[in-house]
């Protein structure tokens, strides 16, 4: 049986981990290699790294950051941010990514997903969708350019089309919840997970292991979080112990000997 994955996310720019609220107001959150190694040691099942560089100069350094992380990482690594064309994806794979996520570029030119599928396979072709709630309970629309631009496109319909074009996984971020620590948008998760057959990584709003259990219950296959791990409020292992206790299938990376210790 497949395990539910816990996926810490590192936003990075200029060789540093950064974190902001609703993609704005970035602040420094450490060294990417140290962070990646620490999360791996805590039992992370996978790592996502998103390049949020604002400048072309910073973006040029992305491959170096990825290569440095790869040297210490023996779990899967998804990289995204600023991928415009298949050559960008190839550069990230050459540097050490296992999967590449695309967002704005795929909205503007959906054939990019088909091209990536053809060249790298579905398992490497990840679509990131940033979804914002519409007024009057009319579903969600896709936002692009780090949330600055609403597209009018329905998020669920876009997920279905992306699967048809060959994407193998969807990184689904609630733009309303991102960085707010108010819980994942479980209605959004339920809507997308029910409409497609590819796995869904839930993102945006996690503040606790309880939030993660809710997202898994809504159909998420993997649970992404940044703030709660970066700020040291909890560890990946703590989250996994809790979710295992809730009956969710988890990859257990700690030794059973520790079960004897007081909780």
């Amino acid at each position: 049986m497949l395990k539910v994955r816990i996926v810490p996310c590192l936003d990075f720019a200029g060789g540093r981990v950064v974190k902001g609220i609703k993609f704005q107001g970035l602040r420094d959150a450490g060294d990417p290699v140290q962070r990646a190694a620490a999360y791996q040691d805590q039992g992370a099942d996978e790592l996502v790294m998103l390049d949020v560089s604002a400048t072309v100069e910073d973006r040029r350094n992305a491959a170096e950051t990825i290569a440095a992380v790869r040297e210490v990482l023996c779990i899967p690594l998804t990289v995204g941010g600023g991928v415009r064309a298949i050559d960008d994806a190839q550069r990230l794979l050459d540097a050490g990514a296992d999967k590449v996520s695309v967002n704005t570029a795929a909205v503007e030119r959906s054939e990019l997903l088909a091209e990536m599928n053809e060249r790298f396979g579905a398992q490497c072709t990840i679509l990131a969708i940033d979804a914002a709630r519409r007024d009057h309970d009319k579903g969600w629309e896709v936002v692009v350019r780090s949330g600055r631009e609403r597209t009018g496109r329905d998020a669920v319909a876009w997920a279905v089309e992306a699967e048809r074009l060959g994407c193998g996984e969807i990184l689904l971020t609630s733009w309303d919840r991102d960085g707010t620590r108010s819980g994942y948008d479980t209605q959004l998760l339920r809507a997308v997970a029910g409409a497609v057959g590819v796995p869904i990584i839930a993102s945006g709003g996690a503040d606790s292991a309880e939030h993660m259990a809710e997202a898994a219950g809504a159909g998420a296959d993997a649970l992404l979080a940044a703030s709660i791990f970066h700020d040291g409020d909890t560890t990946v292992e703590d989250v996994k112990r809790y979710l295992l206790g809730r009956g969710l299938p988890m990859r257990q990376t700690w030794s059973d000997a520790r079960e004897d210790l007081p909780q």
Binding site: C74, I75, L93, G96, D98, R119, F120, C124, R251
Partner: protein, 207 residues
């Protein structure tokens, strides 16, 4: 002692950086294999596989490597195939109808049932049979839409369940093939790679 030289075959756009990093961690010295003679004569070969069955076989065919690979596997020379690398050992796959695989093992590869999450992306349990020397029980990272469901005769095997059992690993002496990605399977995957490198080193020393 320097590490075992492992020739890594570029079958397309595989995640070669991860494979190289994994081999280095396992104590080997990965080398990108560029021509046929290297693969035929190399002491140890890794066949990483990402992409489609048809594209991988096209590439092996255009490089003239089909016979060389078949011979080294039949002869039991140290070879490690990953993911699609396992699938192309078989005769055919539902993924690319009409394309012939290496055919080292009888049988064909089929797709997971549609009611499941496909691709299978994530960690799943591996159970190795008692005769396995390299494969052990553990949890591995998978990224596949197709799989083999029949145990190949003459090989020891490991089994995993995703909507029913499928073959997640096979081994015969120093020839090892995994449907999962050992280079992405944390300490358990690293342990498997180390055992293969050690096993291959013994084989090489005996040559």
């Amino acid at each position: 002692m320097t590490g075992l030289a492992v020739h890594v075959l570029a079958t397309g756009s595989a995640n070669l950086a991860s494979v190289f990093a994994g081999l280095r961690r396992a104590g080997a010295e990965p080398i990108l294999a560029e021509d046929v003679s290297q693969v035929a004569s190399a002491r140890a070969v890794m066949l990483p596989g990402v992409g489609s069955f048809g594209a991988a076989m096209d590439r092996l065919g255009s490089l003239g490597l089909v016979a060389a690979l078949r011979q080294r596997i039949d002869a039991g020379r140290p070879t490690f195939a990953i993911c699609l690398g396992l699938q192309i050992l078989f005769e055919a796959s539902e993924e690319s109808p009409g394309v012939r695989g290496l055919g080292v093992i009888p049988g064909r590869i089929g797709r997971f049932e549609v009611k499941l999450r496909v691709p299978q992306l994530g960690w799943n349990s591996v159970r190795a049979d008692d005769g396995c020397e390299l494969l052990t029980d553990g949890e591995a990272y998978f990224a596949n839409s197709f799989r083999c469901t029949e145990q190949p005769a003459g090989w020891n095997a490991a089994v995993t369940d995703h909507g029913g059992p499928f073959i997640s690993g096979i081994e015969r002496g120093p020839v090892l093939a995994c449907q999962f990605h050992p280079e992405l399977s944390d300490q358990w995957g690293l342990g498997l790679m180390r055992r293969w490198v050690q096993r291959a080193s013994v084989e090489v020393a005996a040559c």
